[in-house]
């Protein structure tokens, strides 16, 4: 028996039900674009996206394709290529629920789930309009005598359990361990998700746990429910340590996506490839 489940990208898509809470990696930690394309092709609906802590083209495409009902993020942006137009338009036209957050809050909510505690405290944030609009957050007076300022209000953030998390990585070893390097936010996302699937550039015939140093670069196989090969699977996004972003393509997208029609045309071409 294989020591892990090797799937196709389509089989991973089949594990993502309508309406589920899907974990979304930042542009620097392995965006699963080939998976995203298949997800859009399938016509998935009412996805709720949890971005750690932001999304770029992946989120904008899913929103533009009508797959998303809700998004929690610290930012949705195309970076140096400007605004994420499908996102901005959806907000301006009130067709998307945005749970505005801030990076450390998005990390802390998953760390709460990582530890199976109902909440995490966070400093800062109080007095911002982010905090004022988050009804799922609460503020309590500091209950500790032994630590902190005494009459300090403390912000508590709820644990968030993801349903599915999918990301793209350079490689898996023969036992299903995924090489993530120092993109350790991927481990946090995986720990906090019920199901985890990974698309990889390649599967190498090695045991990365044979050596303490290469082991240190891995997300252990025990958190991974299935792996699919996807050559160039982050394109046009970068895969850190493997390839850079295809900036021309992202620029083309950013221009096309400025209008609904331009976006539709772009996507029609992309999905037909």
């Amino acid at each position: 028996m294989n020591s892990f489940d090797q799937l196709s990208v389509k089989e991973i898509v089949d594990e993502v039900p309508d309406g589920c809470l899907l974990g979304i990696p930042a542009d620097y930690s392995g965006v699963p674009m080939q998976f995203t394309k298949e997800l859009i092709k399938k016509g998935i609906k009412n996805l709720r996206l949890y971005c750690l802590p932001l999304t770029t083209i992946q989120g904008d495409m899913l929103i533009g394709s009508g797959c998303v009902s809700e998004i929690e993020a610290a930012a949705v942006t195309l970076g140096e290529f400007g605004l994420a137009s499908r996102f901005s338009e959806a907000i301006e036209q009130n067709t998307l629920l945005m749970k505005d957050s801030t990076c450390p809050a998005l990390h802390a909510q998953l760390q709460a789930t990582e530890k199976s505690v109902p909440f995490m405290p966070l400093r800062g944030v109080i007095g911002s309009d982010i905090q004022k609009h988050r009804k799922d957050w609460c503020i309590i007076p500091n209950p500790m005598n032994s630590s902190g300022i005494k009459d300090e209000p403390i912000l508590l953030l709820p644990a968030v359990q993801l349903d599915v998390f999918v990301f793209h990585a350079a490689c898996s070893d023969r036992n299903g361990n995924i090489q993530i390097g120092r993109r350790r936010e991927l481990a946090t996302l995986a720990h906090a998700s019920k199901k985890v699937f990974v698309t990889v550039e390649k599967i190498i015939d090695e045991d990365l746990f044979e050596n303490e140093l290469s082991a240190a670069t891995c997300l252990p196989a025990l958190y991974v429910d299935g792996i699919a090969l996807a050559k160039n699977g982050a394109w046009p996004c970068a895969l850190p340590g493997a390839y850079k972003a295809d900036n021309n393509e992202i620029k083309n997208y950013s221009i096309a996506a400025k209008t609904k029609d331009g976006f539709n045309e772009y996507m029609k071409l992309l999905l037909s490839k």
């Binding site: 930012a75 801030t102 905090q131 120092r182 993109r183």
Partner: protein, 246 residues
């Protein structure tokens, strides 16, 4: 010989002056001018036999972290980052910043990316430098439409950090925490207190020793163009090409 100084070089030089006492400067996403300033300050510190650590997000080379994307925020919360830069779609006279959009939240007229990590960084980094090139009544407003992070907090809020300076294309302000008000310190060439007042919606004080921004000297320009420009081109290639043609 007087060199021809570019606007961006002057701003880099202004920012670098604010970093001379730091041990660790961090620079967020899409910030070529602060990034160049931090690297310039590091290079100048080295000459004086001092150590300045620079962390630039989105650069692999100047990424000092190994604990994932949360480490920037944890590190800042631990007090290990002396200076960080923040921007804003809008910045108001109490140093509130808005990175979310204009209009009445959540029904915005114009949606921008979002608050990123500002809502924590603004509280914990001792020297936050607000940097926004566009200086207009549209950007420097009386009251922001959405507070991504507040400029000041109540006394019972844990807040070792906060706004110290605001730099724009036209002027450098210092933020006075007690008065909750900006103080105009320096003017760019060709600017006057009057032009700046007209282009700023919020009210501010004027320093009695107000002066013009000083151009970087030849040594600094030399370091910037010869040493820093190629470093910047690693992670902001389009900016480096435009300014220095490298």
């Amino acid at each position: 010989m007087e060199l021809n100084i570019k606007r961006e070089e002057l701003l880099i030089s202004q920012l670098a002056d604010l970093l001379v006492n730091d041990k660790h400067v961090a620079v967020g996403a899409a910030s070529p001018i602060p990034g160049a300033a931090a690297l310039l300050a590091k290079e100048e510190a080295k000459i004086k036999n001092k150590r300045l650590r620079v962390t630039i997000l989105h650069s692999n080379k100047y990424n000092n972290f190994t604990d994932g994307a949360r480490e920037l925020f944890d590190c800042a919360a631990q007090g290990r980052i002396d200076t960080f830069f923040l921007g804003g779609v809008q910045i108001d006279g109490q140093a509130n910043i808005n990175l979310v959009g204009t209009g009445t939240y959540p029904k915005l007229n114009k949606r921008f990316p979002g608050s990123f990590g500002s809502a924590l960084m603004y509280f914990v980094v001792p020297q936050i430098i607000l940097f926004r090139e566009e200086h207009s009544p549209r950007t420097l407003v009386n009251r922001v439409d959405f507070i991504s992070a507040p400029g000041v907090s109540e006394d019972n809020i844990y807040r070792p950090g906060g706004p110290k300076y605001l730099l724009t294309n036209r002027a450098l302000f210092k933020f006075n925490k007690n008065d909750k008000k900006f103080l105009l310190l320096r003017l760019n060439h060709n600017e006057t207190v009057e032009t700046v007042t007209n282009l700023t919606e919020f009210k501010f004080d004027v320093d009695k020793n107000i002066s013009e921004m000083i151009n970087p000297d030849n040594e600094r320009i030399h370091i910037l163009r010869n040493n820093i420009a190629p470093m910047v081109s690693e992670f902001y290639p389009e900016f480096a090409k435009r300014i220095w043609d490298v």
